[in-house]
């Protein structure tokens, strides 16, 4: 990575923020406000549930009080599971297994020594003689569980594109069963299958305040994580791992942090559960509890913290009704065939089936109470939409004027680049005027990049060879793109064009030869690191984060490249204006039509301000008019950020309209290179396209 250029870029980012003098202040305020809305939402949710509980409990009876406390504790566990399952999209059966680890560790540490000697007198590791206060025991149990989770997490988080999320899910199932088997068989410390470990009567949880505190904490953590940087990136990976990686997101740390927070909360809930009941046995943290908590999660909606709470309340009500109805005190009369033990499980199973078939995203889908407009207004949180905050509307104004300017420039002189892009940038930086053909207007950070420039400004592939199981896909392929120029890559189907793009972006490893960015070899860099050094791409078949909004799609790519959240937001607004999707910024990407989706992918790739933008068939499926308008948009974007563009396409008219130079690839080798006219009239190219 060229540090000088990066430095310039950072500086230029700083400079671009200058117009609003109070940018830092704004940013700080923005974060406080966002936090404010999350806090308010969490508090509101907490208030509603607690109030409902108080009213229910005041109806009388210790049984009601215990039921409501159980509900709160289950809610801690379910909200904990939501943090991982909701944000990463990986189904986990193992969280209850982690709960078992915590529950046992808590009981072993917290039960007093004399009582413990009757149950597990010869517990190893000095556990038989250890007894610490409940809070200490809880903290130690959670810490121990987190250690276990880190080890398991390495397997879960790394099983990526290759294994699919299913591998991760099965690992979690193995965790659940392993925890159960150990609990049953390691009798020295767990007390085995029947007895388990119980507290001395009277030393179990007194008072219910712990459950309330835990529940509040769970809501707070889940709500904060949801709108944190890591939470957003985790959701981008959930939507499309390959696209996220090639936008510079490395999935492991985000999945891992979601797992840690999640397991921490589940462990807390498990400790409280053991403490409340006063006993722990293997069956308590096994498959039945997994079914219960998972049903709670999917009924409410796994993508939403609010949904987790709603699901917990709904399913608790359901199980309570079925428990009473199938109990011995209830005269079932003619319904005896249905109202009998086992009813609760069958209802949970049917509820799960019903929701998976009819409403797989639960009652609430991804609706959050934190997003209620009234809460946002109350916390003065700017809406996702561009124009809500003063700071971003300022940058929008600048951008929209610049984009219309650059498009006008582009359309008036199709072969020549755009005159002066971005009014604020040109104020901020001295820039080269586009006087001769070889000099392009430069982006904010790139001072005077020249088309015939030195290696510092080039993305190169040298004699690259790639072979798939004996099939030679690339053989000694050579290509070199310089910053500031738009370079085309054509060739018949199967020529290896996309593979070359995959090689440059790190999706496919080179078998021999090398790839360089600005003179430095990048062969060893993983996909996300290449993206961060400045190579961004689009895909032949759409790979958007379909459940995120248009704005989020673009902003996440910017966040992944390392800029602040606010900066990312304003860049997203800028790019969305350039591709003319401003109206649809808060729509989900999955709702866009094909053309808009293709353009959004372009904007997402550009949002990281890459040095090189690689476009894989940007016009496939486009009409002629659409192709013409995307020519202008690509030009506007390239001029805006001063990057080099490598574009693969079959539409030769499009290539001719947009490219300064063209490479033609056939059977894995470059057969021609030069200006559009030179390549078009090259005999080898003609024979490759038309045949001998």
């Amino acid at each position: 990575m060229n540090t000088a250029t990066t430095g310039d870029r950072r500086e230029s980012d700083e400079l671009r923020r200058q117009p609003s003098q109070s940018a830092n202040l704004n940013k700080a305020r923005l974060n406080v406000e966002r936090l404010g809305s999350d806090l308010l939402g969490a508090a509101l949710l907490f208030g509603i549930v607690s109030l409902g509980g108080l009213i229910y409990v005041s109806g009388g009876g210790a049984a009601r009080e215990t039921l409501f406390t159980t509900l709160l504790i289950n809610a801690i566990v379910v909200v904990g599971m939501q943090v991982f399952i909701g944000n990463t999209g990986i189904l986990s059966f193992g969280h209850v297994g982690f709960g078992a680890v915590a529950g046992y560790a808590f009981a072993v540490l917290a039960v007093d020594v004399e009582w413990k000697s009757r149950l597990i007198g010869d517990a190893p590791f000095g556990a038989a003689n250890a007894s610490i206060p409940a809070f200490g025991a809880m903290a130690a149990a959670i810490a121990l569980t987190l250690v276990v989770a880190v080890i398991v997490g390495l397997g879960i988080t790394r099983s990526g594109v290759a294994g699919g999320d299913i591998a991760a899910t099965v690992i979690t199932l193995a965790v659940l069963f392993a925890a159960y088997e150990i609990a049953v068989n390691w009798t020295e410390i767990t007390g085995g299958n029947r007895g388990g470990i119980s507290f001395r009567p009277g030393t179990a949880m007194q008072g219910r305040s712990y459950a309330y505190i835990g529940f509040g904490l769970a809501l707070l953590i889940a709500a904060t994580y949801r709108s944190s940087r890591s939470g957003r990136l985790a959701r981008a990976v959930r939507e499309d791992e390959l696209a996220a990686r090639s936008s510079g997101v490395y999935p492991v740390p985000h999945r891992m942090s979601a797992l840690m927070l999640s397991v921490g909360l589940v462990a807390l809930g498990a400790c409280l559960r053991v403490w409340l009941v006063g006993t722990v046995s293997p069956e308590r943290f096994f498959i039945d509890y997994t079914l219960l908590t998972l049903t709670m999660l999917v009924v409410g909606g796994r993508s939403s913290v609010t949904g987790a709470v709603v699901g917990t309340v709904t399913v608790t009500a359901l199980t309570e009704i079925t428990r009473v109805a199938s109990g011995p005190d209830f005269n079932a009369g003619p319904f005896d065939a249905v109202l009998r033990p086992g009813l609760t499980d069958i209802c949970l199973g049917l509820a799960m089936l019903g929701f998976m078939v009819l409403r797989p995203n639960g009652f609430l889908d991804d609706y959050e109470i934190m997003d209620m407009p009234i809460l946002r207004r109350f916390a003065h949180r700017p809406d996702c939409r561009p124009r809500a905050s003063s700071s971003s509307s300022l940058s929008i104004a600048g951008v929209s004027s610049s984009s219309s300017l650059s498009i006008a420039g582009a359309s008036s002189s199709s072969s020549l680049p755009i005159a002066g892009s971005g009014s604020e940038t040109s104020n901020a930086l001295p820039r080269d005027a586009p006087e001769v053909e070889t000099v392009w207007p430069t982006g904010p950070g790139v001072v005077g990049s020249q088309r015939s420039g030195a290696v510092e400004n080039r993305l190169e592939a040298h004699d690259v060879n790639v072979e798939f199981e004996g099939l030679i896909v690339l053989s000694d392929a050579r290509i070199s793109v310089s910053m500031g120029s738009i370079c085309g890559l054509i060739g018949p189907n199967g020529a290896g064009k996309t593979t070359l793009l995959n090689v440059l972006t790190g999706v496919v490893p080179v078998q021999s030869g090398c790839t360089r960015l600005c003179g430095r070899p990048i062969d060893a860099l993983a996909m996300h690191l290449r993206a961060r050094t400045g190579i961004a791409r689009t895909f032949q078949n759409l790979r958007l984060f379909t459940n995120l909004t248009v704005q989020e799609n673009v902003a996440i790519a910017a966040v992944a490249s390392g800029v602040s959240t606010q900066m990312a937001r304003s860049r997203a607004d800028e790019m969305i204006e350039l591709i003319e999707l401003g109206e649809l910024a808060s729509r989900r990407a999955g709702q866009l039509d094909y053309g808009a989706s293709k353009r959004l992918e372009l904007a997402r790739a550009a949002a990281s301000y890459p040095k090189f933008l690689l476009l894989d068939e940007p016009t496939s499926g486009f009409s002629e008019t659409e192709s013409q308008s995307i020519v202008q948009q690509i030009r506007a974007i390239a001029a805006r950020i001063g990057c080099g563009v490598l574009v693969v396409d079959h539409d030769l008219a499009f290539i001719a309209a947009i490219c300064d130079e063209v490479y033609c690839l056939d059977q894995g080798s470059v057969i021609a290179h030069g200006s559009v006219e030179q390549v078009h009239s090259h005999p080898a190219v003609i024979s490759a396209f038309i045949g001998e």
Partner: protein, 307 residues
Amino acid sequence: MGHAFTRSGPLAVTEIIQQFVDGLGRGGEYALIALGVGLIFGVMRLVNFAHGELITVSAYAAYGLAISQMSWWVLAPAIILTAIITSVAIEFIAFRWVRSSSDFAMLLTSFGVHFVVQAAFVMYVSASARHFSRPEWITTTVSISGIRFEVVDLSIIAATVVSLGFTVWVLQRTVYGMSIRAAAEDFDTARLLGISSERVIRAAFALAGLLAGIAALFFLMRTGRAAPSAGLVPMLKGVLAALIGGLGRLQGAVLGGLLLGMAEILLVSYLPDSIDGMVNGVIFILVAILFVFRPSGIFSPRPSQRV
């Protein structure tokens, strides 16, 4: 499955062979289950956690027949037939509705099916296990050149080989098999070409049911026990085996099953006494650790993905 050998002393060749055969016998069962899991995954991208229910339902069918004094000659075909019918029925009742849903929804659907079936047995039979008599020959051994083999092990191995041969024949040589393979490659295209999705999926479930039925037969001969969650652990082992071998790769599923069986037999004989009961626990931990290093299984090649 007994273990006649002792743990002390140097490893004799006979002991190694005995353990190998023992492992093959156990692994064959897992391979049969894993093959069914892999087959269904191939056609639907569904990891069927309800695959164990085929064993559970068969177990109750066997129990029902056994208490009416039927011989194992009646039980055996009944067990296999029950598994096939159950497999197709579960597809018809539940999975058909989530065919085009996300992996997440399909996984939880199969999880839900598992619970509904289990709870139904709790409600209408009993929560506790029911036992029935095992065939007399189950513990007999034969001696081949000085090495004693359990008959049941040898018959499982034979049955596994025959079933594998049959599966390969079906997949490679019959029209159904070809449509299953085509659908496993690209379901939508296969459909567009006029291959009936209903029939392909049903055929895959029937075949998976047959394989699970054969596994269930030997499992029940060894255990003679019907319980609401009888199929849970065999299912999990089968799924793990399929995963170890690389999901969707049928040869991988078989190898994964055999490997798991071998590992289990070795652990049974060499684990220290203090944690003797923890064979399954250790296996689950080992598999989880394995996936830290090989996230997509042992036998799966580097994925080539089109982007």
